[in-house]
Amino acid sequence: MDDRNNISPAMIRMWRVYRTVKEMCMDRGYEMLQEDTEIPLEVFNARFSKEDGEPDRTRMHFSCQPTEAMLAKYSDPPTAKIPHPVPQIGTIWVEFNSDENVGLKQLRDYMQHLVNGNFYSGIMICSKPMTGMALRLLRGSAGIEEGPKGGVEVFVEQDLLVNITKHELVPKHVLLSKEEKQQLLERYRLRETQLPRIQVTDPVAKYLGLRRGQVVKIIRKSETAGRYASYRWAI
């Protein structure tokens, strides 16, 4: 039973994807138990496999809440006028789509579900890339009437088989809070446009869910200089 040979390759694949998604949520700052990101294959198989041994994606969805630290990071610095600013982050809904083809229909249904369930944002994981028109809707979705406030992100399973941020050559990326960003710019007397840039479509930026205008600190290890940090402005 707990022999790996009895578990279908599709199930093992899905298990990797699922763990990466859980790690991603934790790394972004959502409430997540370490053990949740380390679910053993046997447990995963018992919970999410269908009778024929294939993964049942329709049962894998979950939601998570931002931690206090994350809420603070996504809030404007408090001012005299607004001592308790509203954080620009909230509950996220993560869903694994099982349809063979994902187009406008599924994406719009998903957006509607997020709005109805009062979710702040959502992540949909598809087994194949969406249609061109669905991607077009997605590109314009942040901030438009149709979707949730925090937008929708879409990943393809293939891209989540391994957690890229765990690769030794990928330096650590840390999101700066709005306050930290302000301090950085003031300290170096910079405008944000003067910073080097990172595309929001960059794989690490996607992993962290970076939004345009945010700044990440990138920490590299160097043989000569020990650790050194650089900053990038997300566009």
Binding site: D99, N101, V102, G103, L104, K105, Q106, R108, T131, G132, M133, R136, L137, G140
Partner: protein, 296 residues
């Protein structure tokens, strides 16, 4: 002797082009032109997306008949796709199929289901059994819808709307059985028609007559230009690929026919499955109709 500088004497450095010189002006114009194009592209792309979303829920009535669409649906459809490229039209079909609907936007029926879930399907034709992709089988509900949908497609431009110098074309024509109703719904006709409707029957005849006359005129024009309706040649196929919108249509467009045999399988468009069940008819009619509307 001092070594001679290998650098060119900088004679121009003192009189750099001023902001108003034709050189920088031209650059500015070019930059502006490109910025405008990008802006227009964004607008058109958003419009097309909205149109496709609207057409996903077409037709408006669940028991609509694609051969006799409601004039309001037909008009809206024609309106919405006027700025479509052929690839946008393909996207519309793809999105409707994903929603399990027949690819033709005026048809309320579900798309055909392949007999089995195998990726390759065996289809019986007059030529024997053919192997077809499952996906291509599941695009339309029927041959008839395929014909009507492709009739629309051949009228669309390959060129994006924001690049069309002649602007977007006039009108996309539909293949309908209730043409009289639709002609009455044409805005052009409405302008001329009096608002009072006591002589409906007579008026209808009138309209039908006018349209027939128009068709005749167009046919004459085509003849005058030495256009001979011929079979689908390679050259004509290439013509199809290019922008057909910017030219004057010489005859009313005619419906494309499904290809007849495996010998014509290169004619398969949009995954429409070749089905040879018309071998008894003389086949030059089909070939004619197919490219009649193209300028020779």
């Amino acid at each position: 002797m001092a070594p001679k500088s290998i650098l060119k004497k900088s004679t121009v450095s003192t009189n750099e082009p001023s902001a108003s010189s034709p050189f920088t002006q031209r650059h500015r114009d070019t930059a502006l032109h490109h910025a405008n194009l990008i802006e227009q592209q964004k607008v058109v792309e958003k419009e097309v997306l909205q149109s496709i979303i609207t057409l996903l829920d077409f037709p408006t009535s669940p028991d609509a008949d694609p051969t006799r669409p409601a004039p309001s649906d037909a008009l809206r459809f024609q309106d919405l796709i006027i700025s479509f490229q052929t690839s946008d039209y393909d996207s519309l079909i793809e999105e409707r199929n994903i929603a399990d609907k027949c690819g033709y936007a005026l048809c309320p029926r579900p798309k055909k289901k392949a007999p089995s879930s195998a990726r390759k399907q065996f289809i019986e034709t007059d030529k024997g059994v053919e192997i077809v992709d499952k996906k291509t089988l599941e695009v339309w509900c029927s041959e008839d819808c395929a014909r009507r949908a492709l009739y629309v497609k051949v009228q669309l431009s390959e060129e994006p709307a924001w690049m069309r110098r002649g602007g977007v074309g006039d009108k996309i024509e539909l293949l309908v059985e209730n043409a009289a109703e639709h002609h009455k719904a044409l805005p052009l006709r409405l302008k001329q028609a009096p608002a009072s409707k006591p002589v409906v029957e007579e008026e209808e005849e009138d309209i039908a007559g006018a349209w027939a006359a128009r068709d005749d005129a167009l046919a004459d024009l085509a003849l005058e230009r030495g256009e001979k309706p011929g079979r689908l040649s390679k050259a004509n196929r290439e013509l199809l690929q290019t922008d057909i919108k910017e030219r004057v249509q010489s005859t009313p467009p005619a419906p494309p026919e499904p290809p007849q045999s495996s010998g014509q399988s290169h004619m398969a468009i949009e995954g429409h499955v070749p089905r040879a069940n018309k071998s008894n008819e003389s086949d030059d009619e089909d070939g004619q109709d197919w490219d009649k509307h193209l300028p020779g």
